[in-house]
């Protein structure tokens, strides 16, 4: 049914009707911030201006095509210039554009005012996930695509939020001005949530900023909007906007979780525990490049399964995971994963897929190395 509608709309829109385009899911969302609403109305104003100009121009054109058909014996007139008309059709568009520039400028000025923010969130793009750090709050986490690969391959029924779901959404309070700082660990990415009307490139080595103040609680979904490599289509953004007290409680909970995790560093971990944890970390962080079975995708992404260098050099292995390799897609995970996760994923990759080194790397050892 919806397909039929698209067909119809394609046809209708061609003859100048735009009513269908206003239906939900066909147009830009009004969004849930004051600015997204302003941007929506700018969009609609310029859209209707175009429609009106289009109706006039195409009206005259199709009238001429019909009225002055050679086959109906039309005789051509002999005029080929008219300065008055030309001046009119130059100045009228000019005035319309000036009229359009005024509200656009006003909106832009508001967008460029990040002052008086109550919360700062640093958003880092990384191939292919987002990292969120609540500055000064000791809360930071990675946000990965949660859609199972089986759904992408079509082996499972696709869920309602196919490709637009993550393991850890960005949680934000409503009614508070939140400042975003954007940067990237590798290539360009762009963080975009249509309902928030925020789209900002993340540039490696540079910091850009933007802000939101959300009016309504809800779950808002978006995607990376700048080509960033193989999994560009698989790094969604999900924002949970919650009531302010709910947000404060969430923040405390996250801080406690982080503290609990930090305590886990000191105890001795069993091999099974490390492997289980490591498999999870590998699946969400490493598998997109090194592939689920560790087979890699050379030349860009080397295989881990049966990698002799990895099997022979435990110190080298730790070094690569913690510090990354410059000039390649391998980032430094020293700050983006905690010692438990680092130890677990190193252990996992040393023992999975027939690597079987038998090495169990303890979180305490990694923590010590990081604290030197």
């Amino acid at each position: 049914m919806r397909t039929l509608l698209v067909w119809l709309a394609g046809g209708l829109a061609l003859v100048g009707s735009s009513q269908v385009a206003l239906a939900r899911g066909w147009n830009m969302p009004v969004g849930v911030t004051d600015l997204s609403g302003e941007i929506y109305s700018l969009h609609m104003i310029i859209f209707w201006i175009c429609v009106v100009i289009g109706v006039v121009v195409f009206g005259v054109m199709f009238y001429s095509l019909f009225r002055y058909r050679h086959s109906q014996g039309a005789k051509a007139a002999n005029f080929h210039e008219n300065t008055t008309v030309e001046i009119i059709w130059t100045t009228v568009p000019l005035l319309i554009l000036v009229g359009m520039a005024v509200p656009a400028t006003a909106t832009l000025q508001k967008i460029y005012d990040p002052s008086d923010a109550e919360l700062d969130v640093m958003i880092t793009g990384q191939q292919w996930r987002w990292r969120y750090e609540y500055l000064g709050e000791d809360v930071a986490f990675n946000s990965n695509l949660a859609t199972p690969r089986a759904q992408i391959r079509g082996e499972e029924e696709r869920g309602e939020h196919y490709l637009l779901e993550v393991d850890e959404p960005l949680v934000l309070p409503i009614n508070r001005k939140v400042r975003f700082l954007f940067t990237s660990d590798d290539v360009l990415h762009a963080w975009w949530v249509p309902e928030l009307a925020v789209k900002q490139d993340t540039v490696p080595g540079f910091v850009t900023e933007n802000w939101v103040q959300i009016n309504e609680p809800g779950i808002y979904r978006g995607q990376c909007a700048e080509l960033c490599g193989v999994d560009h289509g698989f790094m969604p953004v999900v924002v949970h906007a919650v009531e302010e007290d709910e947000f404060d409680a969430w923040l405390v909970e996250r801080q406690e979780m982080a503290a609990e995790e930090a305590m886990g560093v000191d105890r001795d971990w069993e091999m099974d525990e490390l492997m289980e944890r490591g498999e999870g970390v590998y699946g969400s962080i490493c598998a997109s490049c090194h592939q689920p079975e560790g087979q890699g995708a050379p030349p860009a992404f080397p295989a881990l399964a049966g990698n002799e260098e990895l099997i022979a050099g435990i110190e080298w292995h730790k070094d690569v995971v913690i510090n990354g390799v410059s000039g390649t897609a391998m980032p430094a995970f020293r700050t983006t994963l905690n010692p438990v996760e680092l130890a677990a994923v190193i252990t996992y990759t040393r023992n999975a897929w027939g690597n079987d080194t038998g090495d169990a790397v303890q979180p305490a050892e990694i923590a010590e190395r990081l604290a030197q």
């Binding site: 080595g205 540079f206 910091v207 850009t208 080397p302 510090n323 990354g324 410059s326 391998m330 990081l370």
Partner: protein, 198 residues
């Protein structure tokens, strides 16, 4: 067409070619000239948040005690450098016109000497010109021996004419290895070149 007509044409064609070639060479050179020009333009206007890489001097101006500005410090690690970089305080509150000193600690956690460079950035970009760095570790490349720890200061003044809408300034330092100076990987890495493309 007579012979002389043809010669006139040929002379015209030749002139056109020379002018076009001159324009081509000029535009090719212009593309490369844009690199330093862009750099200069950015430093003058601060539009990309890139800051001066040379020390500036303190301007003696009255401290504006009516305004309080938060200055945040963020340190980040690029890939390939086994260093830890930490800042003693994550943010300071200061008045425009004031000068402050903040200490950063660098430690080399590997078994060999290496070179690193901290690439600075400022946000919002409009504040860039108003952060006067008197002394900064980011002005030069740093060398650390195996296991060495180094504390380095950042001394800067916030200019009084900081735009009024700015009340938070974020200084970000991203640590990158200096290519060709650092041994990329210290241990088993040397045996197998393949692994470096990891």
């Amino acid at each position: 067409m007579t012979q002389s007509d043809r010669e006139i044409r040929q002379a015209g064609v030749r002139r056109t070619i020379w002018r076009s070639v001159a324009a081509l060479v000029g535009m090719f050179a212009f593309a490369f000239a844009l690199v330093p020009l862009y750099d200069v333009f950015c430093r003058v206007t601060g539009i990309n948040g890139a800051v001066d890489t040379t020390a500036q001097s303190i301007v003696h101006e009255e401290v504006d005690e009516s305004r309080m500005v938060t200055v945040q410090f963020i340190t980040r690690n690029g890939s390939g450098l086994p260093w830890r970089m930490e800042v003693e305080t994550r943010q300071v509150r200061m008045h425009p016109g004031q000068t402050t000193e903040v200490h950063f600690t660098f430690s080399n956690q590997s078994g060999g000497e290496s070179w690193g460079r901290a690439v600075p950035g400022v946000s919002p970009a409009t504040a860039t010109r108003h952060v006067r760095k008197v002394s900064c570790f980011c002005f030069e490349e740093q060398k650390l021996q195996a296991g060495e720890r180094l504390e380095l200061p950042l001394v800067f003044q916030l200019a009084r004419d900081l735009p009024p809408e700015v009340n938070t300034v974020t200084l970000v330092y991203t640590l990158y290895p200096v290519e060709g100076k650092s041994e990329p990987l210290q241990t088993a890495g040397a045996q197998n070149k393949e692994g470096e493309e990891a």
